[in-house]
Symmetry: C2
Subunit: 314 residues, 2 copies
């Protein structure tokens, strides 16, 4: 089931506090480089450092009191995990996070710092799923999928409502795509509110399941994607693919070099800390400027959680 | 001669376009750590990457057409140099920049990228001064001092006019101090507009001439300061010292470790690229929280020009 525009509007009210209404920043350098008017939605400033807080908080707040008492569970070591922990703490309920044993220490510490209860497991999907199911059985916690969940999709989509208010006459919206929660949410919001606004996905060529799925007309998955954009390694679900194939204008893929160059550009020129996954939409606009030239283009900077000890250009 | 409040207001009109009205950002993390309400003025987003553009543009725009035709000259390898080059380019006039031979390549490239005409000289003050004077004689260019100049001081002070509009009931303003152009400008603006607002300076302990000068009641200078805050190595002039001693509430000094910790905090929690010199005001609030607790404190993030290949915590 897909969320409706009414669901998205309800989500916006439900999460308005304490979600940040993040600013939209512009840059003459970016405009000169792309030949477009670029509007950057700074979800790196979002609570938890990523737009994922929107969907996580919407899902947590939609739980009944009885459900909430038992907490929430997910398997992830990325921004969904930290943001779910933060959303759960905000409601005063436990968040059980299943993390592969080999996940970076820095990510494990971030989840714990936001109050998440960590459980380590073997680094494969079967082990993660089994461990999350075990925790559900024992605790009664509700499983919150990082993207294959209508509440999560509606929460992420609130970003588009803000963007349409902040930037009049937006002609294009470009966002990174991984599991498709954000992209499908933006598709639904744009379709409902601004049907003339094109929505594009941007994807690392090393994790191009959305691109290939649209080409083939059927759901394909990534196998061990190794892109530096560590937040974009997941594959679409049937639900997100269904929404995206119906509404998306297209997917642009980018190389690892293009991701790193875009990241460096944002840090140097815009003075913003954005993670590799977070700059992929901008990388796509720089890689395929002919699609966007002369237009008013919204670009989502999805997050800013990056290991400052290890920058990709070093 | 000190600029008056009328001079500062005139400067604000003179430079309004293309100067950025930079945003003021807040952070629950900072508020929790300091026990104060911290309002960060993001001059790292300013054109040229630093507040220095304000003073440079005000000085350049105050030149007569005849003066302007001959260009401007300064000796600096820092933000004043790049921002003066940018301001000169904006008026379509040459900017001659005298740079010590051993200045980092990255800074030389930045000056050149903004259209500055570089002249290399031996790395000592006598050589820099002599070379700048030679250029003045040959070209007729006007020398624009980085801080000992009323137009520059009035330009930097426009930052305070914005801050008072952006943050109601600001009780304290904290800014890094080097040559004192910004601090003296903020002192004059606050004295004229909001005399109950305390103005504090923040200084690296390794370049603490302002602190010592105030203690001793006479102008003292730094000798070969080695602080990582490379924008804060200059010493006050008689002019800036005179203004500051009259109006400043005090100077807080910080260690190198405190500067690096504050910088990391801003990058990690606020997702902002701020240079070491740019976080010294925040470092001071963190180092002496008892002075600021419970109050509404404006902190100037003065700039964001940093070598991304070499971060201080690596």
């Amino acid at each position: 089931m897909s969320p409706t525009l009414a669901d998205i509007r309800a989500a916006a009210l439900r999460i308005a506090n304490p979600t940040e209404r993040t600013p939209v920043l512009t840059s003459r350098s970016l405009d000169a480089l792309t030949g477009a008017s670029i509007f950057c939605k700074c979800e790196n400033f979002q609570k938890g450092g990523a737009y994922k807080f929107r969907g996580a908080l919407n899902a947590v707040r939609q739980l009944t009191d009885e459900q909430a008492r038992c907490g929430v569970v997910t398997h992830s070591s990325g921004n969904h995990a930290t943001c779910l922990a933060l959303a759960a703490r905000e409601r005063g309920i436990p968040a059980y996070i299943v993390v592969p044993r080999n996940a970076p220490q820095i990510k494990q510490r971030a989840i714990a710092a936001f109050g998440g209860k960590l459980t380590l497991c073997e680094p494969n999907l079967a082990a993660r799923t089994a461990e999350a199911e075990r925790i559900q059985r024992v605790t009664g916690a509700t499983f919150i999928h990082p993207y294959d969940n209508p509440s999560v999709i509606a929460g992420q989509a609130t970003l588009a409502l803000e963007m349409f208010e902040q930037v009049p006459q937006l002609e294009v919206l470009v966002t990174p795509v991984s599991g498709g929660g954000l992209l499908s949410g933006l598709c639904l919001a744009a379709h409902g509110l601004a049907p003339n606004t094109e929505v594009w996905g941007a994807e690392p060529a090393l994790a191009d399941d959305a691109y290939r799925s649209l080409q083939e007309g059927k759901l394909l998955v990534n196998h061990d994607p190794s892109t530096i954009a560590d937040g974009l390694r997941a594959s679409l679900s049937e639900r997100t693919f269904g929404i995206i194939r119906q509404h998306v204008r297209g997917i642009v893929t980018v190389t690892e070099e293009q991701i790193i160059a875009a990241m460096r550009l944002v840090w140097e020129r815009m003075k913003l800390v954005v993670e590799p996954s977070g700059v992929v939409a901008l990388a796509a606009v720089l890689a395929a400027p002919e699609k966007f030239r002369g237009r008013r283009v919204g670009v989502i900077f999805t997050g800013g959680n990056v290991d400052l000890e290890r920058l990709p250009w070093q």
